[in-house]
């Protein structure tokens, strides 16, 4: 039987101080996409930043048509939040000032990404690990991009565009085929 869960591309930061990375010309031959990330921010202040993500067809969509609802657990309480009219998604916070060996992870599912009839719903699980001050948390997030365009471009970035990613950060994009 043919493989149905295939790697499309991986970007690993081996040097430099990149603020973002863009997957382009994503094949339209899958049903869902899965983005698996491990990342760390550079040293500095403030304590934390957020991982941002944008998408589009042919280019990145920066219109205010991104929204999300999130459920968070921090070890003490569960909380929830939502936001709308955003120009990018936030996948969750991550600490700045961790070493490159203390990475955070997000898994993002782009459901039915290539259809041109429906808005795109994403599911994301994110961890914010910070061993230094016990402020770790976990996020479950549902995201809506109010566009019927097929997704063939995905940009991953620091939400504020101010904090570069550590060496060792990687972003891997997979495609899942259906029968």
């Amino acid at each position: 039987m043919a493989a149905t869960y295939e790697p499309i591309a991986t970007y690993t930061i081996t040097s430099g101080t990149p603020l973002s990375y863009e997957f382009t010309s994503i094949p339209q031959t899958y049903t869902d996409l899965v983005l698996i990330t491990a990342y760390a921010g550079n040293y500095g202040s403030p304590e934390r930043s957020q991982l941002g993500i944008q998408m589009g067809n042919g280019s990145v969509d920066t219109n205010a048509i991104y929204s999300y609802t999130v459920l968070t657990g921090d070890g003490t309480t569960a909380s929830t939040d939502r936001d709308t009219a955003l120009t990018q998604f936030t996948l969750g916070t991550y600490p700045l000032g961790n070493s490159a060996t203390q990475q955070n992870n997000s898994i993002v599912h782009f459901m039915n990404y290539s259809n041109t009839t429906t808005y795109k719903t994403l599911l994301s699980r994110n961890t914010h690990m910070n061993t230094s001050n016990n402020t770790s948390r976990t996020h479950g997030r549902v995201l809506l991009w109010r566009s019927t365009s097929a997704i063939n471009t995905i940009k991953i970035k620091d939400f504020a565009g101010a904090y570069y990613f550590h060496v060792g950060t990687y972003f891997t994009l997979y495609g899942i085929k259906a029968a």
Binding site: Y5, D32, S67, V70, L71, T72, T80, T118, A178, A179
Partner: protein
């Protein structure tokens, strides 16, 4: 491309390279005209786990509806359910015994009164589905955002049966139909 099985269970990071496909498509149903029931039958017993990936919307006149899932045609009171939710304002945790549900109650999606073109999503893992020595645990991660409203759901259920799962039936909790463009893709996950 190499065969790979990373993240094959929702929210897991683990993965490894393998010599044969480990995550395989079994069957997919895409709704062309609204229909009330989605069925997967004669599910092969060649995998370790199953994963159901859902994109759905209900025709029922409300803003939200829910997935009802039954195994092997069992509609008896054999499905305890638990779930954790967040709607942007309130969080909630709920537990229900077998006397309250005759189905696995899994995730939710927009219904007819929600903005058109919005579909909910769910990733449902059915663990150790063919094991005949234990009850079957199911978990899902899903929900939907509809621009200034939405819900995130983490659900778990157990089917109190030691029978191997050979069929899955999915219906709409509010007795609506699954709207056009809804899709249900069933995958099998192999083990070494």
């Amino acid at each position: 491309m190499p065969n790979l099985m990373p993240g094959s269970i929702a929210s897991s990071i683990t993965g490894r390279l393998g010599p044969s496909p480990s995550f395989e498509s079994i069957s997919t149903v895409t709704v062309d005209t609204a229909q009330s029931t989605i069925s997967f039958t004669s599910i092969p017993a060649t995998y370790k786990h199953l994963q159901l990936r859902v994109s759905a919307r209900s025709t029922y006149a409300d803003t939200e509806s829910f997935l009802k899932v039954n195994f092997n045609g069992d509609t008896g009171s054999n499905y305890p359910n638990h779930f954790l939710t967040g709607d942007g304002t309130n969080t909630g945790g709920y537990g229900y015994s077998t006397s309250q549900y005759a189905y696995a109650f899994l995730s939710s999606y927009p219904a007819a009164n929600a903005t058109s073109s919005i579909f909910g999503s769910a990733i449902i893992d059915i663990l150790d589905y063919k094991n005949t020595n234990k009850n079957k645990t199911v978990r899902s991660f899903g929900g939907f955002d509809r621009n200034n409203a939405g819900i995130v759901r983490l659900n778990s259920s157990v089917w109190l049966s030691a029978n191997a799962i050979t069929s899955i039936s999915i219906t709409d909790y509010r007795t609506g139909n699954f709207a056009q463009y809804s899709s249900f893709a069933l995958y099998g996950i192999r083990t070494a």
